[in-house]
Subunit: 214 residues, 4 copies
DNA sequence: GATGAATGAGGGTTCATTCAT
DNA sequence: CATGAATGAACCCTCATTCAT
């Protein structure tokens, strides 16, 4: 077959797969992961329900794909936006505020992410790996002092997760994202005034926005 | 008839209700809340499925009952065990370690609690109210310094939740509970060495154990 | 016990029975016979559901009681209101208009009656017996001429039933009851102008109203 | 493949739908609409219960399909059989007798039809529209004189319905259909002797019989 | 008689998954 | 590969009915 001889990846199959993932994201965001059926995803993707199974063996599989794509996209964009920052504390404060801000600006999106993570907890590792690098950087820099890496990771992710949840749930104070970042920095050993100051620094811009299309 | 002359309430209904709640706890602990059906709960309680509906209109209703009973029992026992402690920091460190310890000692139980909370997030308030009192006590005592109460609550609960989740998921370092308490105290403004020291103090005993029957 | 020594009928049992029938009427009128449960009737009657079975062996039994009481009450009141009318045609026109008027004034009531009749068609005989007497009277008087009594009964009851149904369903012309009575009289052999005139004559008053309480 | 090259529509879906409708007709005729379950219909159709829901969202939906198909078939066959008759009175008398005859010859069928109509009364309109045309034709021809079209329609349909019901219920006189038609004609203003004569005229034949297969 | 908790058959509905076309 | 009809297990929930108190 002569098919596009230039591009190695067969484009048709890949496109359908992407349609399904995108559709899943929309459906999950709209009705929550638990209330979404495969049929709805197929309809939203504009394909027959049987087609789903040519790409994903099960619902969890598509959730995993959604989680991976979402987390990867998010992490990459955030990471890129502060590539020039070298202080681990500041990097941490930026990352934390990004996630809380996501929950404030796109609550359904954030809810979907957290839903997905709940079902396949190992997927949090995609995000966690970025966080861990900054944590380890801070430790190497002597900026952070923690009793154990695991406890520190739990503190960072748990605090942010909690902050996102309250942000999604309803009204939060104006300084929610800053306060969250401040608390995290303190948990990592930065003292109060400096933590608060770092958490107030302006966020670097993100060229294409944080959330792809929507 | 001599029946308990003091308590007038017909015991039958209440007993069945209790059977159902207990059965729900067992079933939830065994297969997770999401995978548990009402029929299974009824069977586990040794009653007909229709009986369930004489007591709870829906699965969420029984989950609420489970959550309330669980959280209340737990909170009360923990609270009672450190009634004599006046330092908010120490109180906090005890409470935190209790919950992490629960996840280490009774992972299915802990998993069940977290499942239930996820479905009806408002139920976390039962536990949170105890936490909040210690937080406010610490603030009044000048022990804690936080950028916002909400952020602090998120840090406490989020960090502990994360620690419980990792404890449930698999292997954690021996000092997991201590490290978690230390990090939380640091997030609240206690400095490292003191936080670590407080988190190492022995836990007061709990007379009847933390988890009722099992 | 001295119980009312005067009244022969034990009043308690009879009162409960009546409560149940009245409650059934209310519930049936409110939600339709098919959607009404025995439990609802018991609750509406203010008794325990088990009590129902001390009075009626089954749902149909209470429906029958409802139908008999309703039809009897209605028929008796209507009959009494035109006891002084001797012309069978006029009697017929009054009866027809009463029923159509019932559907116009108390649609839920009428709907309930028709529901009940549908489930136990033999109960229509309670009402039909009154109609039949007027039909036979008219035949004896030489006012009516019909090919068969059965066909005539079907015409009278069928036409009124249809008129009631359309009345319940929605908008009908102002003269609906009159037009219905006119058509029936014509089916029985009265010529147009006289039929129309008879159907326009004023209805005799009904002292206590047609429908008991409501 | 030679498949029917003319009709492009995929035949599978339509065939299953038809199976379901036919099965519903059989089941409804056998046990009454109210006592028929969707599962029974599915079994009778030889498909899985879930398949039902690929075609009808609810029991009422299949009832509607049944009613429409039944009423349409019936009306069309009857209509066609007297296409050559121009006198509205005779047309009316034929139609009336057809329906009463249906109840006499195929009581379960007739019962099913009436059951279905009871649940979705708007479906009677399919049949009523044919009746209405003859009524209006008669009025234009000066054959009929009625106080209101609605009352006349109620008389026609109500009388026939009643006659069908008594026919289904049990014994009726030999001239039942004729007597019914006579009474209806009289309600519409035809005088007795002519009405009786018209109602006695022979019925035009119906080529394939009135009821399809059974 | 009245009570009301318990029963359990039965019905409606969903949905992940299969498979012939 | 895509299609989409069919499948059937599993679930939720209702409610007439029973029965010990």
């Amino acid at each position: 077959m002569t098919k596009s001889s230039r591009q190695a990846l067969p484009p048709k199959r890949e496109r359908t797969r992407r349609q399904l993932i995108d559709a899943a994201i929309r459906v999950f965001a709209g009705k929550g992961v638990a209330n979404s059926s495969i049929q709805e995803i197929a309809v939203a993707a504009g394909v027959a329900n049987g087609t789903f199974y040519n790409h994903f063996p099960t619902k969890e599989a598509v959730m995993e794909a959604v989680a991976v794509q979402t987390a990867r996209t998010l992490s990459e964009r955030i990471d890129e936006s502060y590539r020039h920052i070298t202080d681990a504390a500041e990097r941490m404060a930026i990352g934390n505020r990004r996630y809380v801000g996501l929950a404030l600006d796109h609550p359904e999106w954030a809810r979907m992410m957290m839903d997905v993570v709940l079902v396949s907890p190992e997927l949090i590792e995609v995000t966690a790996s970025y966080v861990r690098e900054d944590l380890q950087l801070g430790i190497r820099q002597g900026r952070f002092r923690v009793p154990s890496q695991l406890a520190a990771m739990n503190a960072i992710i748990g605090t942010c997760t909690g902050a996102m949840r309250t942000a999604i749930a309803g009204t939060v104070p104006k300084n929610h994202a800053q306060a969250t970042a401040t608390v995290v920095l303190r948990a990592l050993g930065i003292d109060f005034d400096e933590a608060a100051e770092i958490a107030r620094r302006p966020l670097p811009p993100i060229p294409g926005g944080l959330v792809p299309r929507d």
